[in-house]
Symmetry: C2
């Protein structure tokens, strides 16, 4: 064929420059889209009314995605800071805060000064601000969907490769430890850490993805995406605990988000310092792959012994109802504990961890299939589900929270036969912002 | 550490066999879960009432996931048949049909005879049927969520590597062609074809994933998962066209699923044969990665010229409202076409394709990030969004449908600068089943 585009090795590049000339000629100035004019005045396509129950205000004492009823979807991403300048970090947190306020309010992000303008793409140079696409627009007309956006600071913001890039090393909280390596950890290179984290949660996956997409654009030249994972929970009623992919209810023993005392004791940072973290919380994230094919081959009773709960009701094996307290001393007629000592709930129970409590806010993930060579009979080698749990939890101090609990769990939990931790992160989530503040402002002032 | 489980290379295997003995001792027979008893009689946890608007009956003249208002989520998977026996294929289609009826009805799948029983796992051998986990249970208590399940047969069912494995070669429809390689195709190895396809669509991602998970278990020993991709569209009203990740409404020019004449003419196979496909349809699937970072850097007007529609309204550049017909002859004062000839909608228009129409039913996908070396300025090398469109369309004949349309589009569409086709498949979707039939039964009788 004589077609000049018949270059399968790199059709994009060749066609790109080839067609731009055509376009420049073909676009009369009069074809500015009608809504570009609307947006030009910085009004919004879908301004939301006060009191819209689908809006979770970003301005709040605590960040708004922590002590919050779970939405059905999450998009989580971490970023590496590439800038060497402290003022860039401040600038980024300012524009992110502004964008987060707008996005949670159901608005588009504002027009932005991009490091790379459209002119770099062979444009005619006649661009007018109002004619630029300042938002990916894929959420136009959608509900705010109870969107929350939660920011976190990783250890690398304070010290990276031994270098105090932004003069913040002395502000690093003791609680923001380098995560220990646990027994059984198989953290995939590149799927840990990050200098900054963003978690968007909403009742629509397009709304959460949109957040990561817009915030990453706002970070051009300052920070780059490092790793990301989206997740979901099924639709469930307000009083229900959603089931994870193992088929069990997940999150039953959470402290109540409606209990300010429990939140103050276990979740929010108090006077222990540093001051900039007061009212904040520490987020642990673990990407946990599940061997679903194997789990599904197990007997129901074995699954229940592994978890320590009944599958249907979610009740502990020592009780009848989901919310019944664990009775770790209860024994059957033969003197065996009803809840096995190496079951998941026994090892995670506050009573076995000096009273430790964490706020679990995990999402299932489904990354389709990947090639897997099984470790057990029937020794299958082939495509298996690349799925599991994007475990996320919040706590006042990870040393007395997740690390405390998981230290023993990583060694003895029967569930470890079916799960592998392949991603990890720890982030200091500063308190919420007042109007006019930017996220983490007290750290920089 | 002296801990015997401190073997990070293979903790699962060692602990697995180590703990099973413990379990066998610790499980008294009385701890059968309460709902195992319920399920023992093959009653269902959540039997659905007749007329439940969240149920799309599987028994239907046409398969129920084609001419159907889109649900918000899909899980799509293809399978390779590994069996050499025709009766295994029939058996699989029978159990899949039975499972599909139950699942779309909001029920659990039935207890199954697995090729590999639990006893292979070192079990004590005392298993009773009622104590086995016959469903992954992660959808317990969830709504059927308008679940539809659509099955398809790929060319490999009829002839694979020149071998007619199941005596079906003479039944292969002429329309079930080997998909041509189009200009610009970058199909990733392993992400094309498949002997069988399953598409689950529902308003809950846990419900659709559950289908693939259960059907793949039912296929053990007969067929194996080949590739899979999940997808979503945002929540949208019944009269609205959802936006894809490019921010444009996608599917506007679909023939109306409420127009039986259009469906009969363009979507359903008629008398042209083979007889077993009468009332069926052909599904083309294309996994299309979008260069979202680049698309988002383009000016709004350039995006609109590329698509041929206004972004906000979805109206063609020759009109005012979304549903306005394309006026491909309309010109501006300078004599340039309002809808560029190499725009996406112009190339896809029936008027430019001998009247061809297809029923688009695509879903956005978000596979998080992957390392990407960009082909354009700013020549970024790093993590970019691994996201795009799981394009799916149905048609009476792909030769006069998708292939006809995409042949020119693959060469000239301006949008090709931003999209790459990385997965592909063509499947013959037989008609729906009557009560008691299995899917595709007429092919085997």
């Amino acid at each position: 064929m004589g077609c000049p585009f018949n270059v399968p090795q790199d059709p994009g590049k060749r066609k790109f420059f080839g067609t731009l000339g055509l376009i420049a000629a073909a676009v009369p100035l009069a074809t500015i889209a009608p809504w570009a004019k609307i947006l030009g005045e910085d009004t919004d396509i879908a301004p939301m009314t006060e009191g819209n129950s689908n809006i979770e205000p970003f301005v709040s004492a605590h960040q708004n995605g922590i002590a919050r009823s779970m939405q059905t979807n999450t998009s989580f991403a971490t970023f590496d800071l590439t800038t060497t300048r402290r003022e860039d970090v401040v600038k980024l947190l300012r524009v992110w805060t502004d964008a987060a306020q707008r996005l949670t309010n159901g608005q588009q992000v504002q027009s932005i000064d991009q490091a790379t303008s459209s002119d770099d793409y062979g444009d005619s140079g006649k661009s007018s601000k109002s004619n630029e696409s300042s938002d990916s627009d894929d959420t136009l007309g959608l509900s705010p969907s109870r969107l929350t956006i939660t920011f976190g600071f990783g250890p690398g913001l304070f010290l990276k490769d031994g270098i105090d890039r932004y003069g913040l090393a002395h502000q690093r909280p003791e609680a923001l430890i380098d995560m220990p390596r646990f027994i059984g950890d198989k953290i995939v290179a590149g799927f840990d850490g990050g200098d900054l984290s963003v978690q968007a949660c909403a009742d629509d996956p397009q709304v959460t993805f949109h957040v990561i997409r817009e915030l990453s654009r706002l970070a051009y030249g300052i920070a780059e995406l490092r790793w990301a994972q989206n997740g979901f929970v099924p639709k469930f009623g307000p009083m229900e605990t959603p089931r994870n992919l193992m088929g069990f209810k997940d999150g039953t023993i959470n402290p109540s988000i409606k209990d300010p005392e429990a939140m103050a004791k276990f979740i929010w940072v108090g006077d222990e310092g540093p001051a900039w973290m007061s009212g904040g919380s520490y987020m642990v994230v673990r990407k946990i792959r599940m061997a679903l094919e194997h789990w599904d081959r197990m007997k129901l009773s074995f699954q229940e012994q592994t978890v320590g709960r009944y599958k249907l009701s979610g009740a502990p094996l020592s009780g009848k109802n989901e919310k019944d307290p664990l009775d770790l001393d209860a024994k059957d007629a033969d003197g065996n504990p009803l809840i096995p000592e190496n079951s998941h709930v026994a090892l995670g129970a506050p009573a076995n961890n000096d009273g430790a409590q964490i706020l679990r806010r995990g999402y299932s993930y489904d990354n389709n299939l990947s090639f897997t060579a099984e470790r057990w009979p029937p020794w299958h080698q082939g495509m298996e589900f690349d799925a599991g749990l994007l475990f996320m939890c919040y706590q006042r101090d990870p040393r007395t929270g997740f690390v405390k609990i998981y230290e023993r769990m990583s060694k003895f939990d029967m569930m470890n036969q079916f799960v592998t931790h392949i991603g990890s992160g720890l982030f200091a989530c500063p308190p919420g912002v007042k109007q006019g503040e930017f996220i983490g402002q007290r750290l920089f002032s």
